[in-house]
């Protein structure tokens, strides 16, 4: 689960990471009040959406189509104002909040549909001398958490990794002892932070983000940029935190922060039915059991010249009701012009699938061709049930046969 920046900063603050003072606002008046409460004469208003590239993003309601396309193409300079604005007066804060709240931000990560901004973060403006990058994440090659940092702050780490990999420094934490204080100091010195105050503050920040990672069951804690001011003080200027979905049972507070409006409505509905579903751009709807087979079904559709409309794993022990929900979700997508059901029964019995398919068709009607391939446990019984149902189902025997028939049906052949 992805968190908003203001939520990430709250978690970091609780674990001793210095973040700029600020507060979240859901209305223009609240944003202005937040700026007044902060005081001073320099504020930053930041749109709270999960997508990156907010600063260079533009608002759909006011930007020209050509400018939005430039944003999507990753252009460096686009006219107009974006989702991160520096404000030198309260009037500027008001104008920024008015532009952002309720409007649709398009960044290079959102696609042309964009995301509606419902919350802004108002913070004090920072005094920036140096920008660095720092994160904690799981290193899958040795099953340990790695503290990773670079002097090239503000740039995406993938770009640094591609262009200047030696700028990235790493230390690994032993799960038994945790991240050592010496490792944090070592990292600070390796980044060239040799002013005593800065070294200490940076080391404390490193430990803080590691502690945040563990305490919140994160899968990523990223500070980009981590800023050093002209007085040598360290602060986390921007923060990205994602939480392990498998740990939600013990992260109840964070789970309550879930904002379903950031996700595709079909994906939200699928999650409620305990289905693993991801919307794609093609025309062939897929319902498969097992994540690996579901990905492979997408791959083979493409292999035969079609385009999958979704990834959908009904899981290992799906009941009839879930099959019905799955087919309902697939058929709601107007782009779908053919459905491929591919089940290799292990725990799941093919006769149960067949009954689910019949129930779903009875409930929703069937307006597009439906190709069904059943294999494994009770496959013959399942095929018989479908054949006797009188429904216009296209049966398939093998994976290749199923993909070929689905692609042909989708192309109207």
């Amino acid at each position: 689960m992805k968190l908003h920046e203001y939520q990430a900063k709250e978690l970091l603050r609780r674990h001793g990471v210095p973040v700029p003072p600020g507060s979240a606002a859901h209305s223009v008046d609240d944003a202005v009040a937040a700026a007044e409460a902060l005081g001073g004469d320099f504020w930053v208003v930041k749109a709270q959406v999960h997508a990156g590239g907010r600063g260079k993003g533009r608002f759909k309601e006011v930007a020209a189509q050509a400018d939005l396309e430039a944003v999507l193409a990753g252009a460096a300079e686009v006219p107009g104002k974006g989702g991160v604005q520096l404000c030198r007066s309260i009037d500027d804060v008001r104008a920024a909040a008015e532009l952002m709240l309720g409007n649709t931000l398009v960044t290079k990560q959102t696609g042309i549909d964009g995301v509606v901004v419902k919350t802004v973060l108002v913070t004090t403006g920072a005094d920036i001398e140096t920008e660095l990058y720092v994160s904690v994440l799981l290193d899958r090659s040795n099953s340990r958490l790695v503290l990773m940092a670079s002097t090239e702050g503000g740039t995406e780490i993938e770009e640094v990794a591609a262009e200047n990999p030696s700028a990235i420094k790493k230390v690994w934490a032993d799960p038994i002892t945790g991240l050592g204080s010496w490792q944090c100091m070592q990292m600070a010195y390796e980044l060239g932070l040799d002013q005593k105050k800065t070294t200490r503050q940076a080391a404390k920040l490193f430990k803080g983000i590691y502690d945040t990672y563990l305490a919140t069951d994160a899968t990523l804690v990223e500070i980009n940029p981590m800023v050093i001011s002209s007085t040598g003080d360290v602060v986390a200027l921007d923060a990205k935190v994602t939480i392990d979905d498998n740990a939600m049972f013990r992260q109840k507070e964070i789970a309550s922060w879930y904002d379903e409006s950031e996700d595709d409505p079909a994906e939200v509905e699928a999650a409620k039915a305990h289905l693993s579903f991801i919307k794609l751009d093609g025309t062939i709807g897929c319902m498969v059991n097992g994540a690996g087979l579901a990905m492979s079904t997408m791959d083979i559709i493409k292999h035969y010249g079609g385009e999958p409309a979704n990834f959908l794993d009904v899981g290992g022990g799906a009941k009839k009701e879930q099959i019905v929900s799955a087919l309902n979700i697939i058929t709601k997508d107007p782009a779908v012009n053919c459905i491929l059901v591919n089940i290799f029964g292990g725990i799941m019995r093919c006769d149960i699938i067949a009954e689910g398919v019949i129930a779903a068709v009875a409930e929703t009607g069937l307006e597009v061709p439906l190709v069904v391939r059943l294999a494994g446990t009770n496959a013959e019984l399942g095929k018989q049930i479908l054949a006797e149902s009188g429904l216009a189902i296209i049966p398939a025997d093998t994976l290749a046969d199923a993909a070929e028939k689905a692609v042909a049906a989708a192309q109207g052949k």
Binding site: S141, L145, A291, G292, G316, G317, F344
Partner: protein, 294 residues
């Protein structure tokens, strides 16, 4: 004798009285009567289908001399169950449980280092030596004893590969589902090494998927060390970046873990790559014929 498990394995189930643990212990024991007991804290002294239930793995091992454990403990307690099994001296731990927090597995993985035990999984279908030992949730009837090894991150996609092999008349020596989580015990490299050293295995089907670099690492090893033919497929060539495709570990992030990099590593290592998952069995037949093994 295939790898890791055979008819001499002595297996217990941790979480034997839960619904999934009970069901799959029955199915597995019916296929291969190698189960000697189970563990459910608080139910020690009771019986499950003629198998004794113990409160702890240590007690179960002491009394039954079990050397393998199949874990069906729910996610919040599963990493602890893995460590309990290792501490009790179980040599092969097969963890089926899906949904264990990654941080828990980081600790459990570290705990296993230096201990005389091997972990398979978690979030996996288990391991089967057809006709001899089924320890997991795979449908036994699609398998056939033979000389092809199968290693895969996925469950049903493994069944698909096995189904194709069996339909082509090729039996399997052992099939291992290593699991789709970011932190797993036995990886692709470990499995290839075991199959390479096994006199009863002639060739291997290796199935990977997007996420991580485990397939590339295995290919780097195989390039210089693997003496047996390998047929390879990677699931997720059409998966969008940044999205988790069902399995916790199946995600292309930061430009890493895409299918093309893995296919390239396979080709570089001399693996016989199929781009269509429907061709795993037929490619194996072709390769065996070319090698004079069929």
């Amino acid at each position: 004798m295939a790898i890791l498990v055979d008819s001499n394995s002595r297996v217990i189930t941790q979480g034997i009285t839960g619904s999934a643990g009970a069901f799959h212990t029955r199915m597995s024991h019916a296929y291969s009567p190698i189960f000697v007991g189970g563990v459910t804290p608080g139910k020690g002294g009771q019986w499950f289908d003629g198998l004794p239930i113990f409160n702890t793995v240590a007690e179960a091992r002491r009394i039954t001399a079990a050397n393998v454990s199949m874990i069906f403990v729910p996610p919040p307690f599963a990493a602890d169950a893995i460590m309990e099994a290792a501490d009790a001296g179980i040599e092969l731990i097969v963890c089926i449980t899906e949904g264990i927090p990654a941080n828990d597995m980081v600790k459990a993985w570290r705990y296993l280092q230096g201990k005389n035990c091997r972990l398979i999984g978690p979030n996996c279908p288990g391991i089967i030596t057809p006709g001899a030992a089924k320890i997991g949730i795979m449908p036994g009837h699609i398998h056939k004893p033979g000389r092809i090894g199968v290693v895969s991150k996925s469950g049903t996609l493994t069944y698909e590969a096995v189904g194709q092999l069996t339909a082509a008349g090729l039996g399997q020596s052992t099939c291992i589902g290593i699991g789709g989580d970011p932190v797993i015990g036995t990886n692709h490299t470990d499995a290839l090494k075991l199959f390479n050293d096994d006199p009863d295995t002639d060739a291997v089907i290796m199935i990977g998927e997007i996420g991580g670099n485990a397939e590339q690492d295995a290919c780097a090893w195989a390039k210089h060390n693997m003496t047996k033919p390998v047929v390879g497929f990677i699931a997720g060539a059409t998966a969008p970046p940044g999205r988790r495709m069902g399995h916790a570990g199946a995600i292309i992030s930061g430009g890493q873990g895409g299918a093309e990099d893995k296919y390239r590593a396979m080709e570089d290592a001399g693996v016989h790559v199929v781009r269509s998952p429907a061709e795993m069995g037929s490619k194996m037949v072709e390769v065996l014929k070319a090698e004079g093994l069929l």
